[in-house]
Each structure stands twice: as C-alpha cells, then as structure tokens.
Symmetry: C2
Subunit: 490 residues, 2 copies
Amino acid sequence: MSSLISRKENYSKWYNEIVIKSELAENSGIRGCMIIKPYGFAIWEKMQSVLDKMLKQTGHENAYFPTLIPKSYLSKETNHMEGFAKECAVVTHCRLKNTPDGKEIMLDPKSRLEEELIVRPTSETIIWDSYRRWIQSYRDLPILLNQWANVVRWEMRTRLFLRTSEFLWQEGHTAHASREEAIEEAKKMLRVYTNFSENFMAVPVIQGTKSETERFSGAEETYCIEAMMQDGKALQIGTSHFLGQNFSKAFDVKFSKQFGGKEYVWATSCGVSTRLIGALIMTHSDDYGLVLPPKLAPIQVIIIPIYRNHEQLRIIEKSVTIIKKYLENHGIRTKYDYQNHKTPGWKFNEYEMKGVPLRISMGIREIEKNQVELFRRDTMEKQLCSQNEFLRLAPKLLEDIQNKLYNRALKKRNALMFHVNNYEDFKKILDNKGGFISAYWDGTIETEKKIKEETKATIRCIPLNSDTKKGYCVYSGKPSSKKVFFARSY
Amino acid sequence: MSSLISRKENYSKWYNEIVIKSELAENSGIRGCMIIKPYGFAIWEKMQSVLDKMLKQTGHENAYFPTLIPKSYLSKETNHMEGFAKECAVVTHCRLKNTPDGKEIMLDPKSRLEEELIVRPTSETIIWDSYRRWIQSYRDLPILLNQWANVVRWEMRTRLFLRTSEFLWQEGHTAHASREEAIEEAKKMLRVYTNFSENFMAVPVIQGTKSETERFSGAEETYCIEAMMQDGKALQIGTSHFLGQNFSKAFDVKFSKQFGGKEYVWATSCGVSTRLIGALIMTHSDDYGLVLPPKLAPIQVIIIPIYRNHEQLRIIEKSVTIIKKYLENHGIRTKYDYQNHKTPGWKFNEYEMKGVPLRISMGIREIEKNQVELFRRDTMEKQLCSQNEFLRLAPKLLEDIQNKLYNRALKKRNALMFHVNNYEDFKKILDNKGGFISAYWDGTIETEKKIKEETKATIRCIPLNSDTKKGYCVYSGKPSSKKVFFARSY
C-alpha cells in the first residue's frame, strides 16, 4: 500500500488513485464500465438501505421492469428520444454461434431481432407503457414506484463512479391526478435527497432547478441538488423531475376524474446513483486517503493488535474480544484485523486509506494498563485512553466525526461561493478558485451557451428561495431577476 | 377480483391466473420479460434479505460486475460457451438516430462496436477475468463474492417467474487454493439453499448432484436441490457448482502456493433466482389463490373493518390502532385496509388471493365484546376470539402456519415419491401421477436420452447419501449402483 499523489499536485490523479488504492472500484475490460469491489459496494449497500427506508416512508413501493426496451418506446417522447438516442447500447441479435473453424464465436445472422432493443438508460418509457394498463380511474392514483437497477449510457468520457457507461441507481416514477400534486412530489423527493446528502453523506448541497438546457430530456422542470468538490468543481448529487403530461400523452395514459371527464396523468421521476460515492470521496477525503462519514462507513472501528509473539497476541485478544462484542452490541460496525502476515504499520496505512473513522490499537503495554491507543481519521489525532472510557465514548465520537465532517465540508463549500457583478470577475474567480459563482443571468439560452463556450462554466441551478432583487446579467448586461449559480462541473 | 380456475381443471392456467390476480407480476411488451409488480417484488425483497444474511454469514461479500461482457470472454471456456451462446442478447451498436423523415428512430450504422457485447447470462467469465488481476498468492484466497443482479437468457418458451428471458438472482463466485476446499464450499452453499428453502419457503427439497447432461455448462459437478410441485412436476430450486480449474485455466488465474510452486485456482459458483417465487406459488397455493409462508409474506396480518357509517368506523379504528401498533411492535408485518370504496367481501377475497396468512375483521358487534373474527389462510378456518387472546396468540399462530405449511408440503411431496423396478411401472406412474421416480440408472448418456425422448422425464438428481445397494437399470436392465430421481420438470 503506497501513498497517494497529493490533491494539490494532481487532483484528478489523486481521485483515481484513491478509488483504486482504497479498493472501491476498478475499470473492467469493457469500455467505461467499472467493477465495484466489495469495499465500494459495502458503501453502496449502506446508502441503499438508508435511501430505501426513506423512499418507503414517502409511500414508494419497489418493483422491477425489464432492462431491455424496444426502440419504438424510446421514440414516443421526442425530447426524451433526442436526449438518450446517442448513448444507447442496442441489442440486435439473440444468438451467437461458432465461426466456421469452430475456434471462435460470432454473431448468428439468423438471430436478428424483429425490433432492436436498447439496454435501459432510464425507465420512463417502459414504466409509462405499463401505467397505461394500470391506471383507469382517479382511484388508481397516485402510484409511487421505485426501482433499484443498473442502467447503461454509452458515455464517451468516463471516470470511476462519476460517469460510467453502466451505473447502479434508484429511479422513482410516480403518477398523479393533478399538476400540483406531481410538483409537490418532485419537491418532496428533492427534500429527501437533501436530507440524505447532508445528514448521511455529510455533503452540503444547494437546492435549485435546472435551466432549460440542462433539464432532463422529457421534463418540464428538473429539480436538483448540487455540491461543491474540493477542487472547485460542482457535482450534481441527485435530481427529481416534474414531467408534466409528456409521458402520459406519449403513452396515452388517461384517468377518469372524480367528478367526471378524462385527463392525462401527471408524472414525476427522480434518481440518485453510484455517482454519490464519487461525491463522498471528493468532499471529505485527503492526501492520506478516503475519509468516510461514520453513518455510511462499512467499518466504523478497526481494531489492530501489536505483538511480538503468540503469547502476547493471546493476551491482547482477550481484551479485543470484549471490546468488539461491546461495540457490536451497541450497533457499531467493528472489524478486528488479525492477519499475521501484515505489520501493524501496514494495517495503519491500509485503514487510513480506507477512511475508517476510528482505529484502536493495543500492545501488551496498553493491555497491562487497560488502555488503547485511539486514532481519529478525520483529524489524524492519536491519544491514549482507558478501555472503559473508549467504550463509553465510541458512539459519541462517531457522532462527533459525522458532524465535524459536515461542518468542515460546509466551511470549504462556503469558501468557494462567490457573488460577482461583472464578467471579468466571473472569469478571474473561475480560473483562480473555481467554486459556485452566483450571478445574474438574462434567462436566454444564447447567453448560457456563450458563457459555457468561453469559460466551460454551466448554470448548475437556479436556487430555490433565492432573493427577488433585480440586477443585470453578468454577460449581456440586460436587466435580470434571475440570480443563478454557475460552475465548472463533473 | 374474480375467482380462479381450479388446479384440477387446468393447472397451468391456474398458475398464470394466480400470478396475475394476486398482482405478483405480468408480461411486458418485451418477449419473455416480466414486470415484477410491488407485491411480487416485496416477496423477492424478503427472500433477498434472508439470503443476503445467510451468504454474509458464510463469508461472502457483495460486489458488482459489468452487465455487458465481450463475446470473446464467453468463448474462452468451451463448454460454457456452448451452453450459453444460443441464448445471448447481443449488443452490436451504441447509438440510435432519426430516420430520414425524422419521425422514427433507427440504428446508427456508424456506431457498430468493434467487438460485440452480450448482456450477461451469468458472470463467471467477467469475474474470472477480474480474479486474474486479484489473485497472486495463496494469501489472496479464498475469495467469496456474491452479486445481486439481473441476467438475460433468450429463452424460447417462457413462463412468469419459472422461465423468463430476464430474471433477478444472486450469483456467488468463489476462488480457492484446493480442490477439497472448493468442493466443500459448493456443498456448504447447497446446505444454505436447503435451509432457506425448507425453513423459510417451507418447501421440502431433495439434495443431489446432476448427471453430466444436466450439469451447468463449465462445471465438473453441479449440486442441486429439487422440489416437487402439486401437479407432479419437479422444479429445480437452486444450484451450486464445483467448477474445478476450468475457469482459472480459461482465464489464466494461478496462485503461488504456500510451500512453493504455482497452481491454477479452484472455483465454485452458485445461484438462486426469482424462480423461487414460482416454487413458492406452486407448492402452497390453492384454488382460492396464493398461500404464503409467514416468514416471507409481505403482509402477515391484514385488518379489515366492517361498518355501516362513519361513526361505527371511528369506533372500530380505535381498536385497530391499538392492535396494529401492538403487532408491529412485536415485529409482525401488519396492514390495515381502510379503503372505503371497497366492500369487506371484496377485501376478504383480495387478501385470500394474495395469501396473507392471518386476517382479522371486526364490526361494531365484535368491538363491543372486545372480539375479532380471525381467519387463517392455510386452513381457511374462521373463529371469534378476544382481542387480547389474538394479540397473545398472533406470533405463535404465524409460527404454527409456517410449520403446518412445511408439513403439508412434505406430505404431498412424499405422496409423490415412488420407487420402481421396471420401465412399465415407470411410465405408468409418470403418466398417472408424475412425481419423483426413484430408479436405478446404468449411468450412460444414451439411457438418459432415451428415457427423456420416450417419457419427457429427466434425471433430476443423483441424491446425496443414497443407499449403496445395487440393482438393475430401469431401462437397460444392466447392473447399476446408481439410484437416481427421475421426473418431468419445469
């Protein structure tokens, strides 16, 4: 386990090294598709379990829809089609056969499908095709379904967790009897994601809506939460979409209203993905490796014995057994690393790299004094303390780390928020610091496009509850009441 | 909610009707791919949560590998390739574009992939391609990974849950330093599946190994558990495979041995799928609908109020609140159906169809006497009992139902087990009753094939721990020491 390149030296390389060295994931032999290794997947499982409960509390039920979608479904909603057609994995055949020499394998041309299927990039189309069968009356509404699934989007430039050709996610798809109810659902999911991001990932976010350009293909409004990474680039954490009647019209889904008449159903969708793990890494980690918030850490306390011989180990293990059992009984995820072909120093590095919030280690001297050496990953501070004190303190320490990580991230994020009134400052700050740049925008696609071309910054969001003061567009100088956040982004 | 066709009248139709009417799943617009509806998915989630714990207890960690696999990977292990090549969904392109008239969507011929990818039918190949990078030394072994995933096998004849072009499953993939350890792992997983099947699904099984013909493509030995459905057909519940060194040789995965030298790694894989839900349905259900074992029932107790007016409902709901809270505090999954546009009769049918183990209902008369009407789905028995007595009894009743369902299934299964000594009896029993037919087999592929052609029965398994007496092959009359189970199967 060698050390990392520093963030300062090469942020992008630092990120890749962390993912590899902490054994979260690696690239596979398939372009842009990653392998999520057990430690990375354990983080995803923690995320899933929290989010799944939250989704169920808002009334969502889980279901599962086919991964293969006929291409004709995709073409029913024009914007949706235009957004996804360019990055679809397309299934055209259903059989392989041996090459004439019998040594290799090739497509069996006789197995051409009547209609091509795409591997789902998202499931609005297949789900609304089903909702047509399921919805007749206002009594059938609302429907709130969620699916945990893999999706494929053939991205040209990929990065582990942040942008991969295949990723894992949850996608919520809801159907409602009124526009208002659907909009409220989309906003509610944004609150759920905000809660998850801030209180579990310890990642502060800005809530807002997307500009038309950045909107989900097929949505009338995209709500989003945006976070700021340590290098000054923004990262979209999650989105929820008010889809209006776009999909119900495309798939002809009407309901009989309570007091007569028929109407097209109102829709939303929402999702967060394994990209969250990228956000987690880039928000908290440092030049020593991962730093994980305790609530999502697969291992919260690592125990490492220090010994010269088997007799010492036997004595140490007596204490370890008691400590481990106590912690586990108190719901703390604890691991005892007893590998004897690795040195304590190797293990110290290993779990620092893996971002385990608390480490305790003990040699025969500590055991004799009923002590442990306690190490906090967030502050890198070491101290000796009595075993009893440690056991008493452990839950509070984990809580404290969780809070401190959030506050530290908030402070860093706030230090990367700027308001500018002119385009020179805009460009200067963007080049020197990055960050969220709050500025007035004239609301036109042209201005947005020009700014993107000239600076690579995009409108990350139009914040919810922004002030209503008026100003002048940072680019065109036209009067404007839209103060938005620009940033370069992942 | 209309009633079902009876099992006697048309078992196959009965099965399909149950799946649809209890809202477990339905067919989609994609050939052979099903939509798992919330109630069906809730059963799968229960299964997952139990199995996931069991797998973790045996040391498995979860991970995730790409769903798209280069076709060249598949061709590396010859038997594996031959088993799966004929049913692969093949991705050939990565983009769609508008047709010239702009109205439809078509394949973009310029987006042809250099190498075709298949949607995973199983993940041995992609996983062993990774194990090559992960395994160098005996210290890296064993590796025990599990993946929860969707897989696609382009089956020609599909049936909801039992055989679908896409299904959900868990697949375990392990790597070991010795043949013995790998074989023990495969056997251990068979015990895990047996435990799950018998103690959670309440489905009795026979443990055995497959004949060469029925073996997993690429395995040296396939261990399996087989259950008997009510119509006399067998269903394979789960399999675990000793893969020998087939995949390590195909993917060149060697390890340095503890005491010098290099050796190819030993492998196993194992899996159970959403097919388990088919087994659950066909083992326990009756002409009134599903019957679910309490341990896997998404709803264990349904509460239905019977009232004429709002005032009565208000009084009833006071008791409901107390009862529901009490049950939930005792870990019992409880639902109160308060829909007021459905009659109690409709609801009774609905939850009988859905196989909810216990129902309580109460009108104003019962409330006045502190009573409830209690209904057991397994026996269809009704009785009045005091609310307190019900609360006291509920956990025991659920346990009792779980046990009774197992015993009932075992009795039915045992009534469908026959030993025969000659081919006439073999055919007669098969045609009249079906079931497991225990008979001597001469061990040749020819005999197996002839019997299959003539009777549609296959060797379901060579039972573990069968007696060692010798006899004569039921078909060829040759001396044999292999007593195996034949059956027609799903």
